[in-house]
Symmetry: C2
Subunit: 148 residues, 2 copies
């Protein structure tokens, strides 16, 4: 199933809102994504046709099992890309979130897999690695200073 960036954003937002406030309404999505309610309506119609959400007129929006799986996949991508950008590269968290949100839709599975591997590597390595490369790098990133 190949979803557009826009539809992936809707799915992700539904999942996040459900975790935050349980009920997900058209207005919530409109606010979360910064689009008009009519746009939400159109998008939900498409997701419904794809069997990704369940929605009855004037009621709140629910993910189907299929939709939940798709949403979780997008969210996982987002989270790992966000951590890579903010924790590793030191990007400001606001910007890291924005960029992750754009990259998550266009990155290939292969590239994402590599980023994922890298974050796993870093996470474990940081615990017991004797070399101070990571610290050196963070210093470098921070003030552009070289550390030999």
């Amino acid at each position: 199933m190949n979803l557009s960036a826009s539809l992936e954003d809707y799915l992700e937002a539904i999942l996040e809102l459900k975790m935050e406030k349980n009920k997900v309404r058209v207005t919530d999505l409109s606010n979360a994504l910064g689009v008009k309610k009519s746009s939400v309506n159109t998008a939900i119609g498409k997701l419904k046709k794809l069997n990704l959400v369940y929605h009855e007129r004037y009621e709140d929006i629910k993910l189907t099992w299929l939709g939940l799986e798709a949403a979780k996949k997008v969210k996982t991508k987002h989270d790992i890309l966000f951590r890579f950008l903010s924790e590793f590269l030191g990007v400001d968290i606001g910007i890291a979130d924005e960029d992750a949100c754009k990259i998550e839709h266009i990155i290939s599975d292969e590239t994402f897999g590599r980023v994922e591997n890298f974050m796993n590597f870093i996470e474990k390595k940081a615990l017991y690695d004797k070399s101070k490369w990571l610290k050196d790098f963070k210093a470098f990133i921070k003030d552009g200073q070289e550390v030999v």
Copy 2:
């Protein structure tokens, strides 16, 4: 000046074709970007209005000074992202090229700056660093094996 991803791709392709074959025609762009010639025409019309290219009916396409600057900016982004993906993360070069081509249009200046810094760091570090973290990481990336 805020260009769409599509227009940035056209500029980048014009720069690359100019370097390869000197003359850049509508057909060259059509082939390079995999779009119809009529689409190239429409895009060139927009770039012309923005003073980024110079183009007379039935003649070849040239970048203005402004267009060249913009094209170089995009290409630099592409090249550094490509090196990061292929050389550092070990992504297949075909896929790295595709992904770089998508990411270059959406990444923030801040994030791109961080990637740039990182590649500079790596490049110098690799020359004299005693720790074998980079080698360890590449092994990890390659076969998912942990190296303690």
